[in-house]
Amino acid sequence: MIRLIDVYKEYDNGTKALKGVNMRIDDGEFVFLVGPSGSGKSTVIKLITGEIAATQGKLMVNGYSLNNIAPRQIPYMRRTLGIIFQDFRLIEKKTVYENLSFAMRAIGASPREVRRRIPYVLQLVGLDQKADRYPGQLSGGEQQRVAIARALVNNPSMIIADEPTGNLDPQRSLEIMMLLERINELGTTMLVVTHEKNLVNRFAKRVVAIENGRIISDETGGYYNGEKI
């Protein structure tokens, strides 16, 4: 569960990125976070992942209060999250399997746990036949599936996807979004940051719109880009 209570964020250069944001995401929800460039979406993601700290306000992520979290506790908070990036961020010199095992070993999983978990996750994202391929040998959609598998592999309670379809064509984007929906149905909370109004509108999930650092709407089954919010 995520809770932001009256959160403000001002960067060192004086930019006021968030101005009193309140947001609650419960376990098992699927939420789209939408808004134009510079609206504060990325700041929300960075606050949730512990990359930056809020200037003011309260922030809770999966049972961790980020207002007074010790730096050495941040890794353990992050283990409750899976993060997907627009540019995939795969390690080019590692195979699909190695990219996933790398993420598992990073949190201290044993080789046995790695061998047991990775085939299951690869099957879930439809890449069980491509475990030995390198990222450069895969299409954009497949690379994003690897990134989703990597986010899933440590069994997080929540996945945060930052523009996950930004580099994909419409058909691949739809496939990725359907995959994220399926993962959500299996019980993982999903927070998807996106610009793509067609996708948002098609899935009819909860939509939180942010603009100029303020939440301007929050509606389940909402639409994006002014059609209906």
């Binding site: 050495r72 790398f102 598992m104 949190i107």
Partner: protein, 296 residues
């Protein structure tokens, strides 16, 4: 998933990373070798200088003249008293006759010299000291012995030796210290370049929930292995250079004033110091280099 110290994983990652980023590893090893060779050469120079000064010190002595009224037997009786002085390492009694012979030696033969009688000289002791820095005090103690009429000592020369040795040791220590710090930063920058290519990996690990220690350990292992590799190469290269320089020094050393300490006699110490320093600058450099990238 249990939190644990996975030494096998850290070693495997650190070892493989050396070959994955082969060029940067090569550059880091070259830097370590160069730094150790410079430090090693200065250290060996300091060691040789110290040995040479030690040899010169060992030859340092002063003379204690015995009262001319003392018979040879009475003079000999003072030996035990002189030997009892703490800083005295060796005492040699020289009779007046022997002293005259020594004095005549090396001088041209002539009648005037032949007419000299031993009685114009005094019996004496040639006294060696163990610590040249306490020469002045030792001379004072010898002069207090009844029967010692006078002493002859080149105190300025002795103090000169001490000064030269102290300056040489100080300069070498300062130079080695500066080189050590410079090496650390050069290695840190070299490894930082290697780390820069891997910042994405580090960021991914951090985003997955890896602790700083987990991220650092493979780099520590890598730095240590690079440091030890550099140390071994530097040890053998230093050996070759030292032998070559020693040969040239001995060949051009007509007066035999310069002595060269054998490399083999110091080999174990050099290897230990090189390995320790190599590992230190490898690990220290790695930790310095990675510090910035951990702030994700």
């Amino acid at each position: 998933m249990a939190r644990r110290f996975d030494a096998g994983y850290y070693f495997s990652e650190g070892f493989h990373s050396i070959f994955t980023h082969g060029f940067m590893s090569f550059a880091a090893v070259c830097m370590i070798v160069a730094c150790l060779l410079i430090m090693g050469s200065f250290s060996l120079l300091a060691v040789n200088l110290d040995h040479m000064l030690g040899d010169l010190e060992a030859e340092n002595e002063f003379l204690a003249y015995i009262d001319e009224n003392y018979t040879e037997e009475q003079a000999l009786g003072l030996q035990a008293e002189i030997e009892a002085i703490p800083n005295v390492s060796k005492v040699t009694f020289v009779t007046r006759a022997q002293a005259l012979e020594d004095w005549k030696e090396g001088r041209e033969q002539n009648d005037l010299l032949d007419s000299l009688q031993p009685e114009v000289l005094r019996d004496r002791y040639r006294i060696h000291v163990s610590d040249i820095e306490q020469l002045g005090q030792t001379v004072d103690q010898v002069e207090l012995i009844q029967g010692v009429a006078d002493t002859s000592v080149a105190l300025e020369i002795a103090q000169g030796f001490v000064l030269v040795r102290n300056i040489a040791t100080g300069v070498a220590a300062v130079l080695i210290g500066i080189l050590l710090i410079v090496s650390l930063f050069i290695i840190a920058n070299t490894i930082k370049l290697a780390t820069f290519y891997r910042r994405e990996e580090i960021a991914i690990m951090k985003m997955c929930g890896a602790t700083n220690a987990f991220v650092q350990w493979p780099f520590v292992v890598e730095g240590m292995l690079l440091g030890l590799t550099g140390a071994l190469i530097a040890f053998f290269a230093q050996w070759g250079i030292y032998q070559l320089v020693a040969k040239l020094v001995i060949q051009g050393n007509g007066l035999s004033l310069v002595t060269v300490t054998s490399y083999l006699s110091m080999a174990r110490n050099i290897l230990a110091v090189f390995c320790g320093t190599g590992a230190l600058i490898g690990v220290g450099g790695s930790l310095l280099a990675i510090r910035k990238f951990l702030q994700v």
